[in-house]
Symmetry: none
Subunit: 255 residues, 2 copies
């Protein structure tokens, strides 16, 4: 299964190198950095030293400005955060979540319809501040690595190592690694869900339902609701069609 590791606003070069090594040793190679502290972080000496031979992962890695640009082709997002957020996705241990995910179980859905995701991304926040709420809200699950309650200070590259390990073991042995053909409709990827939500937000403002000056938690809530639904591509088209009709009606009402 397509697997991407996304580091958001990482500040230590050593952690980028350590992440590349941690990924490669578990057979993963798709790394994206969102707004790292150092623009040249992939070429810094400390990075290369800690990567310890995982140079191909560094060479393939992309640097982007926003999380949106990091989400093409992935349709299931896992936050990693020590602190659960209100209005955020459900908090689960990695092992528990991976079991559910790969069983194709869609806990909380009425008919258990959606199958396995096509691509998974694991998001890691900055060393200092962890993940921002708005990034956590976009995720389908918040993975919480069990740690000592009195010392939860897990190094970033160590967290990547643990997630990569559990995910590798959940996927099954490394050789071959051919995913079973997925039945059922194509799930929308995270980028198209984000695009739809942005469209819908404009429409909700236009019909005077959402006050942009006091948005409260409306959009995060809707985001979570649609995440639970595991939207299909066709449903994205429907929802965008609804948003478009709302915007047109609102425009007519103001003529």
């Amino acid at each position: 299964m397509r697997t991407r590791f996304i580091l958001i606003q990482t500040s230590h070069a050593g952690n980028v190198g350590g992440t590349a090594r941690a990924m490669k040793v578990m057979g993963f190679d798709d790394l994206v950095l969102v707004a790292p502290r150092w623009a040249n972080v992939l070429r810094r000496e400390e990075t290369i030293q800690r990567a310890s031979g995982a140079n191909d992962v560094l060479a393939k890695a992309r640097i982007v400005d926003t999380l949106d640009e990091a989400l093409d082709g992935v349709d299931h997002l896992c936050a990693t955060a020590m602190t659960p957020r209100d209005f955020g996705p459900p908090t689960r241990s990695p092992r528990e979540h991976f079991r559910q995910l790969l069983a194709g179980a869609s806990e909380g859905t009425a008919d258990g319809a959606p199958g396995r995701p096509g691509g998974v991304a694991f998001l890691f926040g900055s060393e200092r501040f962890g993940m921002r709420n708005e990034d956590v809200y976009r995720c389908h699950a918040c993975l919480s690595i069990p740690t000592d309650p009195s010392f939860g200070s897990l190094n970033l590259a160590a967290a990547v190592q643990l997630i990569a390990y559990d995910w590798r073991l959940a996927l099954g042995p490394m050789a071959g690694g051919v995913a079973p053909a997925s039945a059922g409709p194509r799930l929308a990827d995270a980028a198209s869900v984000a695009g739809m939500l942005e469209h819908l937000e404009r429409a909700l403002v236009a019909i005077d339902f959402l006050d942009p000056m006091a948005p409260k938690k409306l959009m995060p809530r809707l985001n979570q609701m649609f995440n639970r639904a595991a939207l299909q591509e066709e449903e994205i088209h429907i929802l965008r069609g609804v948003a478009k009709a709302m915007l047109e009606t609102a425009a007519r009402s103001k003529r």
Copy 2:
């Protein structure tokens, strides 16, 4: 259960610090160094930096000259080695071995005595050469962490992190782990979902998105989508609020 981590002939100070942190985050604090390269490794700047607050583990740590001196009070030894040795103990994945060990299985213990061990030690060889054969021979099991066959280069502190994690999970949860954000919202019942859908249908007609003469499968599709989302009561209120605002905007547009 008494748990000790033993690093043999470690040469990088950063790995000693990283090991202390990796242990502490999983609730372990018994570290012994056998003949490290630097006699002052516990006080080196890089060690302390990478330990990132696990100073009590460093303060308690012992440095000894031989493996024998590191083994007091432990009765089950696990080697960690990438390469199985002839005449060595059985090679197992950590997870598999821990399950057997804690189930009280006697297989693999030196004397075949039943029951759980009183104390366990995990042995890690030097960064360059791994474990010496004669040290592996003393162990009850050789733990092999599953890695990519083409890149098995696991960092020492990362290996400690993975073993500490699997062992912690095998021992059972730590008291006071991360609690979920909320006790779980109330799900909407089928009647209120149906009421919301009827409200939404009228709104979709009003904004000219749904043609009541040719409705196709729009409402059944939306129904399926909302079913998968397992709507909460509060979300029903939100969606009805959106439908109401759509109806009002449409009414204004026709004045």
